[in-house]
Structure formats: structure tokens, C-alpha cells
């Protein structure tokens, strides 16, 4: 029983958890959400651009997209965050006037996310039947308008589940900005749990931080499954037989 008590004390010390929970929720959670949402949105925009470049007829654009994607998908996130966060910090300080590492943290997360999201968008856009582009062009739309109005919207719809997965991964990877050194008010969920653990020598604050991540990621995972299923089977609408054509067929 001693061993179990010891384990419970190490991981499930309610007192230590209670102490850290207020700052986890009021400081850590908003910061994590800022990092993940900002880089998610910017990464989606950059990713869409990369996808369109990868699909363009211009060989230079295709190669640029290819190289970018290989680079940022092939590097560990923590390396990119460190290199950009530290390497560009003098420039960022001059531009923004602060030492806040968030702009560079968001930039690094954005660059990484864009590489993955670009591939997600590309596969989605490529999965749209060729007849869609042909029908749109036959109506008189230009290639650009056809892509914008007809092909890309369908492609994006198909990859919504993959996009949400990518967002889940951003929520978790946002923890890596701790390597850039964060002021007390800039700490996100992981760093707050980690600091509390270092101060107390007890792992319970990290367990609490983990629970906060899970509260966000588990529902999102199930939301992915839900929209995935919905996209596959369609909204439950009633299908009716062809009332008009059938009689014509019978009469003749």
C-alpha cells in the first residue's frame, strides 16, 4: 500500500493540482488557444497558397511549393521553433519593439502547419472530379474563377476532417514554444504545469495540464469522426423517386 500511496501522491496530489488549476485556465488556456488558432488560421491561408502553387501549371511555383513542403515537413517542430524564435528575434525586436516570443512562435508554428495543411488541401482539390472544372469552364468561367467558385470549395469540404486533425496537432505542438523562454503572463498550458512541477517536485500539476489538453483534444477527435461520417454519408435527407421522368417513360 505504501507504493500505491506514493504513486498517488506523485501524480494525483489534489492540493497541488488545485493550486495550479486557476493559472492553467486563466493564463495557460488562453495562451495555448492564441498560439494554436493564430497559427492554424495563418497556416491554412499559407497552406492554400502552397496547394494552389503545387497544382499550378507554372513549374517554378510547383517546385517552390515542393521544396517548401519537403523542408518543413522533414524537420522536427522544436528545431524550427528554436531556429526561427532565436535566429529572428533581433529583427522581431526591432520590428515589434517587444521581447514577446509569441510573434515568432506563431510564425514558426505557422510555417510548419502550412506544409502539412498545403498537402491536405492539395489532395482535396485533386480529388474533385475533372468534370467539375470542365462544366464550370463550359459555362464561361475562367480557370481562376472555376477554381475559386467550384473546385477549391469542394476540395476544402472534403478535407475538413484532416484539417481538424491538423488543428489538434497544433494545440499540442504549441507547447513547444516554451523553448523560447516565456514571461509569466505568456506561459501556455504545458509551461505552467512544468513550472509548478519544478517548484514542487510533484508531477500532479503536469497531470492537470494534461487533463486540460485532453478536454480540448478528445472532443475534437470525436468531432472529426462525426464530420467524417457525415461527409461520407451525407446529411440524412429523404430521397424521392423521379416523379416527372418516370411517367414520361411509362407513357411512351
Amino acid at each position: 500500500m505504501d507504493l500505491l500511496d506514493q504513486l498517488a501522491e506523485t501524480f494525483l496530489d489534489w492540493g497541488e493540482m488545485a493550486k495550479v488549476i486557476p493559472s492553467l485556465l486563466t493564463v495557460g488556456l488562453p495562451n495555448t488557444l492564441i498560439l494554436a488558432l493564430a497559427s492554424g488560421i495563418l497556416g491554412s491561408l499559407l497552406g492554400l497558397m502552397l496547394a494552389l502553387m503545387a497544382l499550378s501549371r507554372n513549374i517554378v511555383a510547383r517546385w517552390a511549393a515542393r521544396i517548401y513542403t519537403d523542408l518543413f515537413r522533414g524537420l522536427p517542430a522544436i528545431l524550427v521553433i528554436l531556429v526561427i524564435g532565436i535566429g529572428l528575434s533581433p529583427i522581431a525586436r526591432e520590428l515589434t519593439g517587444t521581447r514577446n516570443p509569441y510573434p515568432l512562435g506563431i510564425l514558426a508554428l505557422t510555417l510548419i502547419a502550412a506544409a502539412y495543411i498545403g498537402e491536405i488541401f492539395r489532395s482535396g482539390i485533386q480529388s474533385v472530379e475533372k468534370g467539375q472544372l470542365e462544366a464550370s469552364r463550359a459555362l464561361g468561367f475562367s480557370y481562376g474563377s472555376s477554381m475559386r467558385l467550384v473546385v477549391v470549395p469542394q476540395g476544402i469540404r472534403r478535407v475538413l476532417p484532416a484539417l481538424v486533425n491538423q488543428f489538434i496537432s497544433l494545440l499540442k505542438d504549441s507547447s513547444l514554444v516554451f523553448v523560447l523562454g516565456l514571461a509569466a503572463s505568456d506561459r501556455e498550458i504545458f509551461r505552467i504545469g512544468n513550472d509548478a512541477m519544478a517548484n514542487t517536485g510533484n508531477l500532479s500539476p503536469l497531470v492537470a495540464a494534461g487533463v486540460v489538453y485532453l478536454i480540448m483534444t478528445v472532443p475534437l477527435t470525436h468531432f472529426v469522426n462525426f464530420i467524417d461520417h457525415r461527409l461520407r454519408t451525407g446529411r440524412p435527407e429523404k430521397k424521392e423517386p423521379d416523379e416527372l421522368a418516370a411517367p414520361i417513360g411509362k407513357k411512351a
Partner: protein
């Protein structure tokens, strides 16, 4: 049916190659204003490609295309395609838009009509093909025949001068074919200039004003449907007709 302001379409000596594959080897096709030309022939004879070249979805390597006697090869191809409606074998409706949005999209974005006006005109077109009551559903909830009628409405909404039908009934269940063919026959009677690539010999014979038989990228024989179907001159057409009839 409404009145159409249709045009005369002419293709002259059209050539097209994909690499070493000579798909069209000098095709001539003339469709007089208000008439229907059907194009028949075995698979791979270049019929569908011919349609795509005549509205410049694919640019020809050589030859000329004339609308109302004027060459359109130097025009903006997007503007040319606004004047030629096209209906596809696989319907190709936009699945992310409702039926009425499918019809209204080009009216709003290309004809620059206001939302209300585009909607009104789209509803009129849907009424014409008997599908006004389906305006707000997605294409996936329609039968193939209904989808193809929506596709026809979508093309007609642009008030084209010529309509192309690329095997418009080939993907339909047999009981749905007649509804679409009846609609096409209505358009023909209404004076629309039409080029109909089809395997429906009954339609070709009874509705069209001229029949063009293609094989191997060439026009083998063309003429009035009575002549083509009752007195074929070439052995190739005779054997094709005996295979399909």
C-alpha cells in the same frame, strides 16, 4: 418553350492531335441556325473531342470555327463558351450548391445579375424543365434524369446561341432516358441550334435535321437522317448501323 436567339455554327477542317495520336483529322461540320445536328459513331471516334474543340475547351491544332459566319478562334474563349451551352454525360452539377444555385451561379458571376434577378431567372429555367419544386435541394438528392434536366437548365439560363449535348443520356437508367430526350426534342422544336453527340439512334433519326457519322477522327458520311439510316453509302456506316440498331 421560349424563343431562342440561336446561331449558325461551322467547323472547318478541324485537326487535333494529342502527341502522336491524331484524334481529329480534318472535320467539317455545319449546323444551320435553329437546326439540330447529331453526331454518331463508335467509341473513340472523336465525337466528344469534337464538341470540346468547337467550344474551345480544347484548342484545335488547325482549322477554323465560325459562329454566324465569323471566326471565333481569336475571341476570348471564356466569352465564346458563354455563347455555347454544354451538357455532359455525367451531368457535372456542382454538388456543394443547391439546384437553383447551380443554375444561378453563372448568371450572377458572369452576367453580373443581382441576386434577386438571377434567382428569378434560374427559377424560370427550372420551371421550364419541370424541376421548380426541387430548387432548394442538393443535386445528390435527385435522380440522374432530374440532374440532367437541371444541367440543361443551367446551360440554357445563359441564353446560349448553340447547345452541345455530349452523350447526355448515356449515364441514365433506361426509364429516365425518355424524359431527357423529350426535353431535348422540345428544345430542337423551339429553334435551338444543337449539336448532339449520341448513341440514341431513335433521337438521331427522328429529331435531328442532319446526321454526321464519324470514325477514326474523320467524317465518314453525313446527310439527312432518312438517307443516313435507310440508304447508308459507305460500308463502314452500314456495319456500324447493323451493330447498333
Amino acid at each position: 418553350m421560349t424563343e431562342f436567339t440561336s446561331g449558325t455554327l461551322t467547323g472547318k477542317n478541324i485537326h487535333l492531335s494529342f502527341g502522336s495520336n491524331h484524334v481529329l483529322r480534318g472535320i467539317d461540320l455545319h449546323v444551320e441556325k435553329g437546326t439540330t445536328a447529331s453526331v454518331i459513331g463508335p467509341s473513340g471516334s472523336g465525337k466528344s473531342t469534337l464538341l470540346r474543340v468547337m467550344n474551345r475547351l480544347i484548342e484545335p491544332d488547325d482549322g477554323d470555327i465560325l459562329l454566324d459566319g465569323r471566326s471565333v478562334l481569336k475571341d476570348n474563349p471564356d466569352e465564346l463558351r458563354q455563347r455555347i451551352g454544354m451538357v455532359f454525360q455525367q451531368f457535372n452539377l456542382f454538388p456543394h450548391k443547391t439546384v437553383v444555385e447551380n443554375v444561378a451561379l453563372a448568371l450572377r458571376k458572369l452576367k453580373k445579375l443581382g441576386k434577386e434577378e438571377a434567382h428569378t431567372q434560374a427559377m424560370e429555367q427550372l420551371d421550364l424543365v419541370g424541376l421548380k419544386h426541387k430548387a432548394d435541394v442538393r443535386p445528390a438528392n435527385l435522380s440522374g434524369g432530374q440532374q440532367q434536366r437541371v444541367a440543361i437548365a443551367r446551360a440554357l439560363a445563359m441564353r446560349p446561341e448553340v447547345m452541345f449535348f455530349d452523350e447526355a443520356t448515356s449515364a441514365l437508367d433506361p426509364e429516365l432516358v425518355k424524359g431527357v430526350l423529350a426535353l431535348m426534342a422540345d428544345l430542337a422544336k423551339g429553334g435551338m441550334t444543337m449539336v448532339v453527340v449520341t448513341h440514341e439512334m431513335g433521337f438521331s433519326r427522328n429529331v435531328s435535321d442532319s446526321v454526321t457519322f464519324m470514325d477514326g477522327g474523320l467524317v465518314v458520311e453525313s446527310g439527312h437522317p432518312d438517307q443516313i439510316f435507310t440508304e447508308p453509302r459507305t460500308e463502314r456506316l452500314k456495319s456500324f448501323l447493323s451493330d447498333v440498331l
